[in-house]
Each structure stands twice: as structure tokens, then as C-alpha cells.
């Protein structure tokens, strides 16, 4: 017999990246620009704190919402860094990665049949998350002409006024787009007018290269309808430690905690100790990594221009989003450059509406490899011109 799968699981196909992964496995000289995680190691102070916590036998569950001390540190950090004021007792929950927090939010706020508007192209987990929660996805494409920022026109065109919820991710994976305060104002107004709950994934907030990150939750009337997600994976290079968090109004966080306390009990304790130290003492490490990313960003953007591929001027995260040359679909280009040149990149379609015809290039890779990868891409483009 085979175990009968739920309709929700059946509704979500396996990841589109899977096939590329298999091709990549066939060669041993692949340079990957397909990775969405830092190539830096977790700052030593954070690693030491994790080790020390293990040596002291701190391996039991913590409070469901996370260690009190850590929530206080997160509250201070969010307030200092992004002007987000949240009460550590009731308005913060620590989760196993931002991923868990996003999933909790969908499960806590989406009823079967509810429409969830997602500004796309965007991180690949939102759609499945909505479907697993029984909701329906409403794609709101963003366009390169608008610098991949979400506009009210796009919201209206997609009929997002009737949705229950809106998912934003800025700085954006995969485009590297950011939204400034003046770009967020009209979106906030739209959300208030149509009574939308906003899920704002700001995990790349530290990786903003041009000016300061603004959270939509800081805009007038938005705090009560917004959940902000963040975590330690990207800026603190802690992907494998699985630690993230959500900030939001007390009732909403309590609802998310209701699921979390049964599904997860508490986020990994060792990781919470590492995270506490990361907030306490790793500001300089973060700064140095951001500087490195910024150099690589400029390098990659400039090389694409030289190669003659149109590329959007990414201002955040560690991705850039060039257009594939004429004569290719994104998938064809990605597969060709992988098979012929051994460079792994992700076709933009994977990230939903608006991503067609583009590639996601991650520059969370050493400069030497980036230079070689771009030379290979250049050769591939020249061969097929």
C-alpha cells in the first residue's frame, strides 16, 4: 500500500530547483551562485557562547517564546536598529528560523479559502506556507520598471484589496530590491484602507547597502496590523543554528505561540545562547560582512553590465537579478550555463510572477569564485550570441 497524501501536500509540487541540483551533482567543478546563505562562518563570539552553553549543560527547553534574556536583547536591538518598539514579554516570539515564524503566522491567521497576496518575485516558502495553511495565493507581480518595488497599481490590478493578508519581503530575495519609507507609505495606506494584515519578512534588513532599512511596521497605523519577521541566518551567518523571531501585537504573537508551543515547544536552546551573544557583541562582525557583500555586489553588477546583460541595481540582500539575453528562457539559460560551464544559478521563474526572464545570482561566494563564475558566464553568452 502507499500512504495517502493530504490534498494540501499534493497541491505543492516538489521544488523546481531539485532538477538543477541533480545536474550540478554530475560535475565536480561547479561554482555555485545558487546559494541563499552566507559563505562566512558564524562569528566566533557567538560560536563560543554556544559551546559554553553546552559545557554548562544548558540543554533543556527554554520558555516557549524563547529565553527571556534573548527576547529582551531582541527588543533592544529592534528598537535601536530599526525603530521597532516591542515588549519582550508579550510581543516577541523566538522560533526555529524565520521560516518557522512565517509558517506559524500563516497557520495562525489564515482560514481555508482566505486569499493571501504575495508580492513577487519572492522567497519560495510563502506560497507553500499559504497552501499548507489552507489559504489561496494571490500573486502580485512587481516589475523591473518599478525597481521591483511593490506599487499600489500592482495591488489594485491583482485585486489584492479583497485579500486578507499581504506578504512583503524587503530587502528582497531574489531581486535585491528595497523599499524606502516613501515607497512603503502608499502600501501602508492601501493595507489600512482594505484592512489587510501585513507579514513583513525583514530578514535581510541589515544587508541594506544604500541608506537605512525602514520597516513598514513603523508607519502610522501599521504596528497593529503587521507581523515583522527577522532572524540570525543571514546577517549573523547562522543558517544552520536555526534561529529567528517574530515581532507583533500581543494577541497575534499569542496565537502564533499557541501553535509553536505544541509544534516546536521552544527554539533550539544552544542557538538561543549563540544568538544572545551575537546581539551583544557581534556588531562589528556583521559590519565587516556587510562591507564585503557590498564590494561583491558592485563587482557583480559591473561585470554583468560589461558582459552586456541587463541587470537590476540591487540595493539589498546578497542577490542580483540579471535578465537573460534574448533567445533564452531563464530555465534554458540556467541549465545551459550549468551543463556547459559549471556555473549554478537559479532561474527567476522559481520565485513566482515577475521573475520570468531573470536569473538569481547570489554573491554570498568568495570573490575569486565570483570572478571565475562571471568569466564562465561571459564565455557562455559569447558562445551563444
Amino acid at each position: 500500500m502507499t500512504i495517502e497524501l493530504s490534498d494540501r501536500v499534493k497541491a505543492v509540487p516538489p521544488s523546481g530547483i531539485r532538477r538543477f541540483f541533480e545536474i550540478a551533482e554530475e560535475r565536480d567543478d561547479v561554482i555555485s551562485l545558487g546559494v541563499g546563505e552566507p559563505d562566512f562562518s558564524t562569528p566566533w563570539a557567538a560560536r563560543d557562547a554556544a559551546i559554553a552553553s553546552l559545557e554548562q549543560g544548558k540543554t533543556s527547553y527554554t520558555a516557549n517564546r524563547g529565553m527571556r534574556e534573548l527576547r529582551e536583547a531582541i527588543a533592544d536591538y529592534a528598537a535601536d536598529r530599526f525603530d521597532l518598539g516591542y515588549d519582550p514579554a508579550e510581543e516577541i516570539i523566538v522560533t526555529a528560523g524565520a521560516s518557522e515564524a512565517v509558517d506559524l503566522a500563516f497557520r495562525a491567521f489564515v482560514d481555508p479559502g482566505d486569499a493571501v497576496a504575495i508580492a513577487q518575485p519572492s522567497y519560495i516558502s510563502y506560497e507553500p506556507g499559504v497552501i499548507f495553511a489552507g489559504g489561496e495565493v494571490l500573486s502580485v507581480p512587481t516589475r523591473e520598471e518599478d525597481e521591483f518595488r511593490l506599487t499600489v497599481d500592482a495591488l489594485e490590478e491583482a485585486g489584492a484589496g479583497d485579500a486578507e493578508m499581504l506578504v512583503l519581503c524587503y530587502p528582497n530575495n531574489p531581486t535585491g530590491a528595497i523599499m524606502r519609507e516613501e515607497d512603503l507609505e502608499p502600501i501602508a495606506e492601501f493595507a489600512r484602507e482594505h484592512d489587510l494584515t501585513v507579514l513583513s519578512d525583514e530578514i535581510y534588513a541589515e544587508l541594506t547597502y544604500d541608506g537605512e532599512h525602514t520597516s513598514i511596521a513603523t508607519l502610522e497605523g501599521m504596528r497593529e496590523r503587521t507581523i515583522v519577521f527577522n532572524g540570525f541566518s543571514k546577517a549573523h551567518a547562522m543558517t544552520g543554528l536555526r534561529l529567528g523571531y517574530a515581532l507583533g501585537p500581543a494577541d497575534a504573537i499569542a496565537a502564533m505561540n499557541r501553535i509553536h508551543q505544541y509544534a516546536m515547544l521552544s527554539a533550539p536552546t544552544t542557538a538561543q545562547h549563540a544568538a544572545l551573544e551575537a546581539l551583544d557583541s557581534c556588531e562589528n562582525d556583521v559590519g565587516e560582512m556587510v562591507d564585503q557583500y557590498d564590494r561583491r555586489r558592485q563587482f557583480v553588477l559591473s561585470r554583468f553590465r560589461e558582459i552586456g546583460m541587463d541587470v537590476f541595481e540591487a540595493k539589498g540582500a546578497f542577490y542580483c537579478f540579471p535578465e537573460v539575453p534574448d533567445g533564452f528562457t531563464a530555465e534554458e539559460f540556467a541549465e545551459g550555463v550549468l551543463r556547459e560551464e559549471g556555473v549554478a544559478v537559479v532561474p527567476g521563474d522559481v520565485f513566482g510572477a515577475g521573475g520570468e526572464g531573470h536569473l538569481r545570482i547570489s554573491y554570498a561566494t568568495g570573490l575569486g569564485d565570483l570572478r571565475e563564475a562571471l568569466a564562465r558566464i561571459e564565455a557562455f553568452v559569447a558562445d551563444h550570441a
Binding site: I17, F20, F21, A24, E25, V30, S32, G34, V35, G36, E37, D39, Y123, I124, S125, N173, R295, R296, Q298, F299, S302, R303, A344, V346, T365, G366, L367, D369, R371
Partner: protein
């Protein structure tokens, strides 16, 4: 500011082309060139060298860290002694340091014999030098900020979200 950025990049890899540095710093290529020329002319950039992991080569290369104690007299200062020692091609680095000894000297030669001969015949006889302690380098794990050894393995998944 751009000077600092250019210097950091050169220290990371002196072989970055001016074009690469220009791309990374958002300067024009000729600005990068001019900055480097100025830094060289001002004596800020003193030279460019390869960071070598000698353990990877067949031929032996022997290095030692030598601690030197000196006694100064009225006519001779640290700088005089340093000047004398720095002239030897075997001396790769020489620093005046605080603590238990005065100079910290890096010596390089083709064999242990050559190093010890150099220290006993050329360095120890300098009249102001009262004591030398030689430490032979057995294995080097990091040089000029670059970790030696195999490193370099990037075992992340080739695709991730």
C-alpha cells in the same frame, strides 16, 4: 576613505586588477591607479609579495623567530642596531617589541644549519647583543592574514533558498 578601501583590497589580494578594484569600490579605473601610485610614492605601500605555504613545496625552506636582547650604551640606540641587522638578507622581519626581550627577528634560509650559522656568526657577535633565543618554525598555519593548509572547501548545497 577610498584610500583605505583600496588598501584593504590590496592587502586582501595585491593581484586584484585595477579594473576589479574599480568595480568593487565604485571608483573609476584611473582613480584607482592614481590612488595606488600616490600610496606607493608616499611610502604607504612598500611592496607586494606572495604569501607562500613553503610546506607545500619539495625544497626545504627554514624559518626561525629569534628573540634578541640588547644592552644600549650612550652612543648606540635601538635604531642603530636595527639598521645593522635589517641589512642582512636573511632577516625577513625585525621589530622592536615590549616584554621579556627587545627585538623580534624573523630569519629565513635554506637549512637549519644556515640559520644557526647566521645567528651565531652574524648576529650574536654584534657587540650590543647580549642574548639570542632561536625558535625554529615547525608548521605555519597562517601568514599575513591568510590561513594556510587546504581550506577552501565549500560544502554548501549548490542550490538553496
Amino acid at each position: 576613505m577610498s584610500e583605505r578601501e583600496v588598501l584593504e583590497l590590496l592587502r586582501e589580494n595585491a593581484r586584484y586588477s585595477t579594473a576589479d578594484i574599480a568595480r568593487m569600490t565604485d571608483l573609476e579605473e584611473n582613480e584607482v591607479e592614481a590612488t595606488i601610485e600616490e600610496l606607493e610614492a608616499a611610502g604607504v605601500v612598500r611592496g607586494y609579495q606572495a604569501v607562500v605555504d613553503w610546506d607545500k613545496l619539495e625544497d626545504e625552506r627554514v624559518r626561525a623567530e629569534v628573540e634578541l636582547n640588547v644592552r644600549l650604551d650612550r652612543e648606540t640606540g635601538y635604531a642603530d642596531i636595527a639598521e645593522r641587522l635589517a641589512r642582512f638578507p636573511e632577516v625577513k622581519a625585525l621589530r622592536l617589541v615590549s616584554g621579556d626581550y627587545d627585538f623580534d627577528m624573523e630569519v629565513e634560509a635554506d637549512s637549519i644549519r644556515e640559520v644557526s650559522q647566521f645567528v651565531s656568526e652574524k648576529v650574536a657577535p654584534v657587540p650590543e647583543i647580549t642574548q639570542t633565543v632561536t625558535h625554529y618554525v615547525m608548521t605555519s598555519y597562517k601568514e599575513n592574514g591568510i590561513e594556510l593548509g587546504d581550506g577552501d572547501e565549500d560544502d554548501r548545497l549548490s542550490f538553496s533558498p
